[in-house]
Assembly symmetry: C2
Homo-oligomer: 131 residues x 2
DNA sequence: TTGAGATATGCAGATATTTGCAAATATAAT
DNA sequence: ATTATATTTGCAAATATCTGCATATCTCAA
């Protein structure tokens, strides 16, 4: 298989993982801290099973890593830089049927909120754990 | 609806448009030239109907624009910069079941091939047509 | 045993693929 | 010019496949 085809397939797989609002929210929430299923459930306001299933998808595609502490399982991003790239993608969304003006301001606010700096100690931990 | 939710939804929609290998190939092929259905059909090696339907999806979400010249309809990207961003995304794909080494070299080659510079005259045309 | 989380099942809705046809436009012949 | 023909593109219906969600069940550690 030519490499263009291979990469197009893998990219498509990757995008399909990102093509759900809850998974995007999860990635954004994990941008600068690690969280357990319970915290995510409260933040997102969906069932614990739902959170768990979306985490399973993210885990299966190696976007997140887990580690147990006490009786909780905490999740972190494999590549925290992904959030920067993801926020850049907001540039390309276009209004479908929703109010164009509202979308613009929402985009600006989301970019700001999801762009706050990654905690240094956390970054250190990431590096330690990723090798 | 809180703006985070709105943006997450719109981003998810956007990603779902990108979550098909043929549409990714089309976007990549349109990076520095405009093409008609026939050319795309030859390049991609799929049925003309298939090309047409994927173009319809891209058009419906305003990723491409069309204009007729002679007997052909030519398609161009609304935001050529999107290809740069898309190529950056290759960084985050991880091998699933396929050979890891092969994926790495394929990624490098695709990044190179899909990163060749945009023709200046074309960029000028884009700017003229996009206002 | 209790609490946190993962997994299995089944259903509903969405999405892709194929096939065939319709509409529009160009080309050529008369 | 008019008619016939071929090309290009869009569209629709049928089928198959994928995805998400809810409920229930299961595992593991404290």
């Amino acid at each position: 298989m030519p490499h263009r085809t291979l990469i197009a397939q893998q990219l498509a797989r990757f995008f399909s993982v990102l093509s759900h609002p809850v998974r995007i929210r999860i990635i954004a929430e994990l941008r600068n801290s690690e969280l357990c299923v319970n915290s995510l459930q409260e933040i997102l306001g969906i069932s614990h099973s739902g959170v768990s299933q979306h985490l399973a998808t993210l885990r299966a595609h190696r976007l997140i890593k887990e580690h147990r502490r006490g009786r909780n399982v905490f999740y972190r991003l494999c590549s925290p830089e992904m959030v920067t790239w993801l926020v850049d993608g907001i540039t390309f969304i276009t209004p479908d049927n929703s109010d164009e003006e509202r979308l613009r301001t929402a985009a600006a606010m989301a970019k700001e909120q999801w762009s706050d700096p990654i905690d240094d100690r956390l970054l250190f931990e990431y590096e330690a754990l990723n090798k």
